[in-house]
Subunit: 249 residues, 2 copies
DNA sequence: CGTTAAATTGAGGAAGATCAATAGAGGTGG
DNA sequence: CCACCTCTATTGATCTTCCTCAATTTAACG
């Protein structure tokens, strides 16, 4: 069923995120087939759910604009944040095994997504084996991402976690061709704290310090990186003991 | 190429782990086809590498006996442990995107594995679409596992982490039909500490406490769970504040 | 413009890290 | 099979980082 394409409703071929959602590329014809099954949803408002834990798994979602946080709750009712997703990211892939979403996905801002019905994607995959590989790629990247996050949680102190978080967001903007030294980040400091295993107070204190030291400023959803090298250095791993702390190449 | 099947070299059909590696089941015929591509390797000795970071990705590995730790190194040279894998687990799936292993996998003990060459698995998948689903299942479980680990790292204190670790190992043995209140666990306490984001000293102190309280004893690679309920309770999530700490159902 | 949620700032405390010294395992070679 | 050597685990004393609690200030949104 053909849809009317607008600026907010572009076909995959015209979508600037094409190379990000499907980086190894599809032929024009394959792209058209994919385009036919993709469902462009009305933009989500801030705090609106894209899906919730317990929902039946129907589609993968490619983010076209805005941002999404993926989270769950511990048995104790605390929020556990698993990641923040930006345009070009694909989410929902963790529900593949159980066919039920295990996590919640909430818009951080006005957000538009493409829904890719998984059964139809599967059918299409028999005609475009390449497509299966794409899905596998996205999943294995997700596994690797998770392990990097575990590294952050087990090996880094609060300063390093925050520096790494900001720098990793910057890199993601950079890789998508956006400004990466100044960008809007609709993430609550409280949510960053949760994601990084810290308290809001600690995040606030460290951001104050980073601002004072003219490394990075994050005020009112706007991030300004003043000293890229300093930030990367803070984020990176170091050989440290009580006597010295030498930066590693 | 037909292989001679021995007790250490059983076909998939005769392998007791069949339902664990491929839980939704394959037909006899499908199983035979899978069996033909599976490569049963000679057992690995303790501390021998199954694969290393940087190795070209060729095969997935299904663990038949023994155990494997998957780890990497931080830029600072510290070991980062991402998981311990037991018979019936499949590893290597994180290398799918890059076609290069990003992690190291080392035998914790004498360990035998089945190597499943991924290209041949892929070819077979075009004939057995079901098989692709199995691979996706394993991957998405891996993603979910990683998020549970992040929950542990962000939300639990040292006692809870250790209780949860031991209990989760017990559950894995249980689900595979082994003794789960007494089992051999060839994992160094030091490695557990690394995995849980703690120090060996802390692990040692808490294990001493758990032994004293007759909850669980872990000495010389042998785990004995004396009080299953207490262990589960310690591992679980609690509503806590400074005045009370009520267990949640 | 008023109301509510989020962020900031300070003081005090606790969990776990660090440091150091000893005891115990496990593996190797005589 | 035992003695030795090394790696791992244990135990205690001290210290640091980050959390907790409480009080304001600031921002967000109808």
């Amino acid at each position: 069923m053909a849809e009317i394409k607008t600026a907010f409703n572009a076909s995959c071929q015209n979508c600037g995120l094409q190379k990000i959602c499907f980086p190894t590329g599809l032929t024009q014809n394959e792209m058209n087939q994919l385009d036919d099954i993709v469902n462009r949803k009305a933009p989500l408002q801030k705090n609106q759910m894209l899906f919730s834990a317990g929902d039946k798994f129907v589609s993968l979602y490619a983010i076209r604009a805005g941002g999404v946080k993926v989270y769950s709750f511990s048995d104790g009712g605390e929020e556990i944040i698993h990641g923040f997703y930006l345009p070009g990211d694909v989410i929902g892939i963790d529900a593949l095994a159980s066919r039920v979403h295990m996590f919640n996905a909430m818009a951080l801002d006005v957000t538009s997504v493409c829904a890719v019905p998984f059964n139809e994607l599967n059918d299409l995959s028999t005609k475009i084996p390449h497509l299966t590989q794409q899905v596998l790629n996205i999943m294995s990247k997700e596994v690797v991402e998770g392990r990097l996050h575990s590294e952050l949680l087990t090996k880094k102190n609060a300063d390093q976690r925050i520096a790494q978080f900001i720098w990793s967001m910057a890199e993601r903007f950079k890789s998508r061709g956006y400004h990466y030294l100044e960008f809007r980040l609709s993430v609550l400091h409280r949510d960053v704290a949760t994601y990084l295993g810290l308290t809001p107070e600690t995040v606030s204190r460290i951001l104050a310090k980073l601002h004072q030291e003219k490394v990075v400023t994050w005020k009112k959803k706007e991030v300004h990186i003043h000293d890229e090298n300093a930030l990367r250095s803070l984020a990176g791993n170091h050989f440290c003991d009580s006597h010295s702390c030498a930066k590693v190449v």
